[in-house]
Amino acid sequence: MKRLILTFILSAALLASCAPADLNAPMPAYETGVDANAWANVPAGEFYFGQHAKVETTAAYEIMITDVTAQQYADFLDAALADGYVRLDGKRIVGFYPGDVFRGVKHEEKIDAGDWLFIPLDDPSQRIKFDGSAFSVQAGYENHPMTSVTWFGAWGYCDYYGYRLPSEMEWEKAARGTDQRPFPWGDDVLRENANFYSSRDPFEDMSSFGSRTSPVGFYNGMNYDGYQTLDSASPYGLYDMAGNVWQWTGDVYEGMHYRFMRGGSKDVYDMDLRLWVRNNATPTYFSPGVGFRCVR
């Protein structure tokens, strides 16, 4: 009898592991009041860069105070498709990228000039939909960060509007300010500061679909139906510089085709939200946990 019970429990656990995750489970909708079209000024000057606080300098620049939202990206695609900046290639949106210098370093792959994947349309976690004539966003995700976008897709968005992706230094300075804090808001991280793995925010359910993105600017000190957030803006007023989605940065490094991401995401533990933590992937990589913002 005991063996039967044990077998039953183990089988149930195994079957539960094989159950598909519902990627379209209802998503709570919240207005954060943060303007996704706003930019922050970052003055020229020195700042502490990296874990070991090396002093570096940047010129002045402006950076978006939130990640590019899914709605903003859909609007971009409508405009860019109309004027031929991007094109439909089967179930993919592709666009031109001028290519990188190839040096033949070990593990380096060629990135030639040509059309590269911006976003896939057939990925189950893609929130952008195309009906044959116009792009739209899956309901509830309009003010969430644009995800499932490749580095080329992020680069293309910024380039289309005359912006660019931030360098790693620009990204970190915008997130950190001029002191040595490890998080945009200060020295330590609480669950109410950011959307990270198992942070118990209103959008996740770790027993089924797991972690999901939160609307941009969500962690601004507001109370959402009883869920109290902490105001977690960076010293320059940027939101989501830690957690929610990894953010593509623009640096193209000599001898490597990988592109770097910063900020951690909904899918990593709090330690990876520290401002100097880096992640990287091939520029064609896309994920429901990767987005971007631009500088100008």
């Binding site: 656990a13 874990q51 992937a281």
Partner: protein
């Protein structure tokens, strides 16, 4: 007073007592510090542990803390292996006493004050004592090399069943010696960059610098150090298990030269990463790893064959199933080599698969996914080494009958469930997308947590039993005071 004196004498002056103390300390550290990460952190247990113990956790220092934690546990394991070596191999008694004394004081200083410095505020006296501990362990290692000197005629052997030269030079002893010498040299490979990086304040975790085409010599040195030290701990435990099981015969004669050759080449490859030979160093490492792993395979073949033969000696014509039954009849003796085989699924197999399909699969994934594979596979190898030690320890303390079966099979099954879970977790991107992974991740987490938690419970039960035994006037400890491992080697 006599009560304390006799127990102290057992715990710190006998091989089995010393091993018991080290296992107990490592178990406590594993149990407590295991609650600071993973699912325990998710459940909020981490905050409770930090508050209860008064830990001082600063975000910026995480890497330094983890490096000290790894060293604290590793030093305990190295001490256990050293006790086993000094207990199993012939050497002058003053060498044995001095080595055991140095390494005991050394690992305790490193563990207690290292963790004190890393997790309970930065008192520099603690850091100094931590470094003193590591230094004592280093000197114990140097002394072990001297004690094992295989060219000492006293240690030549005449028995032709064992690997030896015509003159009687003991190749098994030479393998132990080679492993000890290369371990001591490879320790410097970490010590030097450790000093360079400013007492750990500017350090990094190797898995965080993957994919960078340019690495500094110091970074290469640290990457080499951590790989080779774990590999050498694994090589040493293989030799120890071979000695315990009394590995001999034709397989032994082939295995020992292979072990020596593999160990030397493997180390040369690792040391080569900081020389102009760096571009070919990986190839040299593969070449060195192959004979070492073959030697372990030969131990497995010989031991399984031995168990099957001895267990069916009373049957005229044993069937395959009877042989199989005999082979697995003693989990504590079958277990260590089974775990070595299982390691090929969790560690070597993953490593080889990654190396072969690096560009096509793993380098298409983001670096954080690759980091999971890297950290997962060496955690798995470390856990496997720990289970092998626990199985040998189970035999050492004389577990018999049903308790022996329960203890042995529990270690094998629980650890293998957990490690299989870890392996699938590492490889999950091959069969599930990021968006759809959560149910699978949950299932795997249950498997891992169940396996590891139950394993820790099992060890806790044994430790509690050993603790209560110490309060008995004529407990098992009184017998173990005079037991020496060399006399308990299988016939």
């Amino acid at each position: 007073m006599q009560f304390v004196k006799t127990r102290f004498n057992y715990l710190f002056n006998s091989t089995k007592g010393l091993i018991l103390v080290a296992i107990a300390l490592i178990s406590v550290v594993t149990a407590v510090w295991g609650m600071l990460s993973g699912p325990m952190a998710e459940m909020g247990v981490r905050e409770i542990v930090i508050k209860t113990l008064g830990m001082d956790i600063v975000q910026v220092e995480r890497e330094g803390r983890i490096v000290i934690l790894y060293h604290s546990i590793a030093m305990g394991i190295i001490a256990i292996e050293t006790y086993m070596v000094t207990g199993l191999l012939r050497m002058k008694s003053y060498f044995k006493t001095t080595i055991n004394l140095l390494i005991t004081v050394g690992y305790m200083l490193a563990l207690i004050f290292g963790l004190g410095f890393a997790y309970f505020g930065h008192n520099w006296a603690l850091h100094g004592l931590y470094i003193t501990g590591l230094s004592l362990i280093f000197f114990a290692g140097v002394l072990l090399c001297v004690a094992l000197w295989p060219w000492n005629k006293e240690y030549y052997i005449e028995d032709k069943d064992y690997a030896r030269t015509k003159s009687g030079f003991d190749l098994e002893r030479a393998a132990f010696f080679t492993t000890a010498v290369t371990t001591v040299i490879s320790a410097l490979f970490g010590a030097i960059p450790g000093s360079y990086y400013g007492n750990g304040f500017e350090n990094f975790l190797a898995e965080n610098v993957i994919r960078y085409p340019e690495k500094t010599v110091m970074q290469y040195s640290i990457i080499g150090h951590l790989h080779i030290m774990l590999a050498l701990i694994a090589v040493m435990i293989t030799l120890i298990i071979g000695r315990w099981l009394n590995f001999k015969g034709a397989w032994h004669k082939v295995a020992m030269p292979l072990m020596i050759l593999g160990c030397i080449v493997l180390n040369l490859g690792v040391w080569g990463v900081v020389t102009p030979l760096q571009p070919v160093a990986h190839m040299v490492i593969y070449v060195g790893a192959t004979p070492s792993m073959l030697a372990a395979l030969f131990l497995l073949i010989w031991s399984w064959n031995k168990f099957a033969k001895e267990g069916t000696a009373h049957i005229a014509k044993p069937t395959f199933l009877q042989k199989l039954g005999a082979m697995v009849s003693d989990p504590l003796k079958f277990g260590p080599t089974w775990q070595m085989l299982f390691m090929n699924f969790t560690t070597s197999g993953i490593g080889i698969f990654m190396a072969i399909r690096l560009e096509q699969i793993f380098r298409v994934w983001p670096a954080r996914e690759e980091r999971i594979e890297l950290t997962g596979h060496w955690h798995a190898l470390s856990a496997i080494i720990a289970t092998i030690i626990l199985m040998y320890y189970g035999d050492m303390i004389g577990l018999k009958g049903k308790v022996r079966q329960l203890y042995g099979w529990s270690i094998i099954i629980l650890s293998d469930i957990a490690l299989a879970g870890v392996t699938i977790f590492e490889m999950k991107r091959l069969f599930v997308s990021e968006a759809e992974q959560q149910p699978l991740v949950n299932g795997l987490m249950y498997a891992m947590d169940f396996g590891l938690a139950m394993l820790l419970v099992l060890v806790a039960v044994v430790m509690v039993w050993r603790l209560t035994d110490l309060f008995k006037k004529k407990g098992r400890w009184t017998e173990e005071v005079s037991h020496e491992l060399a006399r308990e080697v299988a016939k």
